[in-house]
Amino acid sequence: MPPSTHDDEKVEQFSRLLVANQRRLYGFILTLVHDRAAADDILQDVSSLLWQKFDKFEPGTDFAAWGMAVSRLTILNWRRKQKKVPLPLDDQQFALLADEAVAVSCQHESRQVALRECLQKVDASGRELLASRFEMSRSVASIAEQLGRSRVAIYKRLNRIQSLLLDCINEKVQEEGVL
């Protein structure tokens, strides 16, 4: 699919939609794949698929919903091909979880705005811990080693911070619904 000048507009339209929605799709995929590297690969596959099928996409309809539907099939195929997944789910459980993932991903923008605000409630050391775990993708073991703390201590603290963030985000998203 070499883009000719003729395709320029299409490329731009597609990339605009994809850029606006890729993190939302990534969140959806990660919820059902549970592994970041695999989720990255699947997002890439899904994006190629979306580009190939972009002619069938009706402008003005929900790109994210379309993207999630395509992702869902891709993920299901991927799961079936794996010898072992850390969290096996039967088709019914997969479908139920995927529905929840759609619901959460639909709130992606509100959740992202809320996250920014909620992160202000986490102290600097907590944010650094989150950054090294998530932004820098360091393992809990390596963080624990560097800080001379037990892995359990790091886990506990990470869990506590995330639980606090989650409650805070939910509260803000709910509030937004009310206001």
Binding site: P3, V11, Q22, D35, H108, R111, E135, S137, L147, Y155
Partner: protein, 543 residues
């Protein structure tokens, strides 16, 4: 299932953490599958937690949360170019354009490769002082003067680090249980909840059984407490004296890593002298007096009484000030405890009706305050009159910034001319005014933070229509000035609440803005006060 909802949520998050870290065991996997299948709400929480992980993994999601947006950095791709957040919109738009331009100029393959470029971690940015959390709390102080940046006050939580007490007395309660009274001049370094370095100074420690093992390290001697009360005096040259009041302590020469060879044990009424050279010799004589917890309490309560009297005399001149529109000193009425007595010149109409709220102790022993906790807690007022300018002044103890908007003094509803004095959860003071040309928000810098929680804090806001500006003050310091650009109009209150927002039916559903904490003084002046007047109110009311 007999578990409380909190229990399964906590467990779910633990399991999600293990799953994310690729360390979920087979047993845990089965447990998680069951939880997802049987526990109502578990799938939703699971999806939310995984979605949060995805967001946290986005470049700049965490480190980019400062108030300065990062501009023009490709790896900082934000997925939402038209995000609602005002602070990042410009940056997002720019990033988006950059990407779009690159996309247009690239083949599809490069396009995809670039979209998935993941940020590379920079190890150097990772600081080691991650667990910089409190080790002790200050519970008494008397006449303290500090050298250096760290100034501890009653209620301060103490983080690991150095402090220098120039003079005065302070009592610290360590989280492990040891209670230490320190007399200045002293140089201390807090290490953790059961280890204190004393470079110089005099201290007396009471160590209950659960804090056994509490250690004080001086340049020449390390003292390990075995459940007791002891005093230690460290001079500038490192020489020291130790006296045991009760129980038992062990002394080691410093820097020997508690070597058994240098170990000496001392019991009740015994003591030791440590020379500048580091020699430890037993000594029966107690060379210095160590101030005990109860002596400090006596000193502090005498000081308390004096400060309270001082405040009372100042209050009289405040009440006589003709600029005062309303003044509440939050002293419990002996006859009607549900009435908040107004001390402004005139009538009963200014008395407030207390709903919910609990009477408690204020800035001083013997001074009352009202505690606001429940979402229904409030004081209802009726404030007559119209004003060109206003000054708010209040002494509050904030216990939590746990609502997006937190009411200090709000008119019911929000009609033209009505002011809303409140706090934001990010630590800003906010004066919102419904002007004839719409809502205007005057806010301060985000100054209030966790360090202010649980401490008496003075808040003031001046709306000065003459000089056309709004100034916010926290503890007597200006924390933000904004120009007033609207045409002049009259400010009015009418039905008003302290610590909450009474919303008329048309504003439904009820928005929860209840204040969490205590208030022990509130004044509204119908005129603008100057910066030095605000500073004086702060200084007079200081604990």
């Amino acid at each position: 299932m007999n578990q409380s909802s909190d229990n399964w949520e906590t467990r779910l998050e633990e399991l999600v953490g293990a799953l994310r870290d690729d360390s979920l065991s087979d047993d845990q996997s089965v447990e998680l599958q069951n939880l997802l299948k049987t526990q109502p709400g578990a799938r939703r929480r699971f999806a939310e937690a995984m979605h949060l992980s995805a967001m946290l993994g986005d470049a700049g999601a965490i480190s980019g949360t400062g108030f300065q947006p990062v501009v023009g950095e490709f790896t900082g791709v934000q997925p939402v170019p038209h995000s609602k957040s005002t602070s990042n919109t410009l940056a997002d738009t720019r990033r988006f354009r950059t990407i779009a331009m690159i996309l247009l100029a690239s083949s599809a393959t490069i396009l995809f490769a670039m979209l998935w470029a993941r940020p590379q971690g920079v190890e150097d940015d990772f600081h080691v002082e991650l667990f910089d959390e409190g080790v002790a709390v200050v519970t008494q102080s008397y006449d303290t003067r500090w050298t250096g940046k760290t100034q501890l006050q009653v209620g301060s939580s103490v983080s690991p680090g150095k402090v220098e007490l120039q003079s005065g007395l302070i009592q610290l309660e360590f989280y492990r249980g040891a209670v230490v009274v320190v007399e200045g001049p002293a140089e201390l370094e807090f290490v953790n909840a059961d280890r204190l370095i004393c470079r110089r100074g005099r201290l007396r420690a009471h160590v209950p059984p659960q804090a056994e093992g509490f250690a004080v390290v001086s340049p020449n001697v390390e003292l390990v407490d075995l459940g007791t009360e002891f005093g230690m005096d460290v001079a500038d040259d490192g020489s020291a004296s130790v006296h045991v009041f009760d129980g038992k302590v062990e002394l080691y020469e410093s820097g020997t890593d508690r070597s058994a060879e240098t170990r000496q044990e001392f019991t009740e009424t015994e003591g030791a002298l440590v020379s500048a050279g580091g020699k430890i010799v037993a000594s029966k004589t107690k060379l210095v007096e160590f101030v005990s917890s109860s002596e400090l309490l006596q000193l502090a309560s005498a000081r308390n009484t004096a400060r309270l009297q001082q405040w009372k005399s100042k209050r009289q001149s405040l009440i006589d000030d003709p600029r005062v529109a309303i003044h509440y000193s939050f002293e419990k009425d002996p006859i009607s405890s549900r009435l908040l007595r107004s001390h402004a010149s005139d009538s009963l109409r200014l008395d407030g009706a207390i709903i919910g709220c609990r009477w408690t102790e204020g800035r001083w022993l013997g001074k009352n305050a009202l505690e606001f906790k429940h979402p229904g807690d409030r004081v209802r007022l009726q404030i007559p009159g119209e004003f060109d300018s206003l000054t708010y002044s209040a002494w509050v103890r904030i216990d939590g910034l746990d609502r997006p908007f937190i009411a200090l003094v709000l008119t019911n509803g929000y009609e033209v001319g009505e002011p809303h004095w409140q706090l934001r959860d990010d630590g800003r003071l906010l004066l919102g005014i419904q002007t004839p040309s719409g809502h205007v928000a005057y806010d301060s810098k985000p100054v209030l933070n966790i360090k202010h929680l649980g401490r008496w804090t003075h808040l003031a806001t001046v709306y000065d229509s003459d000089s056309a500006r709004v100034t916010h003050y926290i503890n007597g310091e200006s924390v933000g000035v904004s120009p007033i650009t609207t045409d002049n109009f009259k400010l009015r209150f009418g039905e008003t609440e302290i610590g909450n927002w009474g919303t008329p039916a048309k504003y439904s559903p009820q928005k929860i803005r209840n204040f969490n904490g205590q208030i022990d003084e509130l004044t509204i002046f119908g005129k603008p006060l100057t910066a030095s007047e605000i500073r004086a109110i702060y200084a007079d009311g200081l604990r």
